[in-house]
Amino acid sequence: MAVLGAGLILAAVPAASAADGSPVLNDFILKWQNDPKVNCKEGGGTTYEMNVCGGRDYQKTYRTLAALYNKLYAAYDADNKKALQDSQIAWERYMTAECDYETFLSRDGSMRSTNVTFCKLSRVTERIARLKAQEACEEGDMTCNHP
């Protein structure tokens, strides 16, 4: 039973943004608890198993986002760092509010946390795609922000 502590994320995701309050470190993934007894490859069908497996997917995906964010952040000058960070903070707030809305109908049910995890997983996946487009932005392309 491993609780993913802030130290682990900091270790996995070092770089500039951690020091100045990167928004990518604020997520509830820090509080999520893994259960090594659950085998996700067997496609567990209980709500509990779905929570654990969804949490693992989410953790992995969120780490990808954090690494991508930190890579971009490190590559930009001060003005672009600020613009990226502002956008990321706003995105986090939007993701939280959107998933509150999308999962409201299941608020009292056992599926609540699974639904929140999958909603956030979708949003994080979208965010990765957006930041990847910036990462791939070629010098001279004015429609994106070349790192």
């Binding site: 003005d79 502002d86 706003a90 707030r93 939007y94 509010a97 809305y101 957006r130 429609t143």
Partner: protein, 120 residues
């Protein structure tokens, strides 16, 4: 009867106005025209989003409505911050409005689809 009269009046207008604007924008060569066309594109996308948002809001109970309103406000802030970030390198340049409005349009269309899917 009124509706018919309006339709009879509006239809030729729509038929002539839309292609003219499209041709002007498709063949735009100068920055000013391109900027103006991008702003028009965005205004259209924003109108569709607003209609979709109002339609979704109508079918919600009070609590969900408050949550969607909150999410929409956060989304607007995110949209603006994201388009500022994407466009940051063009700050002060004549291409800025074109890229900014293009970004707003893309994000607005994505948000519209998201709201439509949530409705089903």
């Amino acid at each position: 009867m009124k509706t018919l009269a309006f339709a009879a009046l509006a239809l030729p207008l729509l038929l002539t106005a839309a292609p003219a604007a499209a041709a002007r924008c498709d063949n735009a060569q100068d920055q000013n025209t391109m900027n103006r066309c991008a702003a028009e594109d965005y205004a259209r996308a924003d109108a569709v989003l607003n209609r979709t948002y109002q339609k979704v809001m109508r079918d919600l109970d009070d609590h969900s409505r408050a949550l969607l309103r909150a999410s929409q406000r956060e989304w607007i802030k995110f949209r603006d911050a994201e388009c500022t970030y994407v466009n940051a390198a063009n700050e002060g340049g004549s291409i800025y409005p074109l890229v900014y409005n293009g970004c707003l349009t893309d994000m607005t269309k994505t948000r519209t689809r998201q709201l439509q899917q949530g409705q089903n």
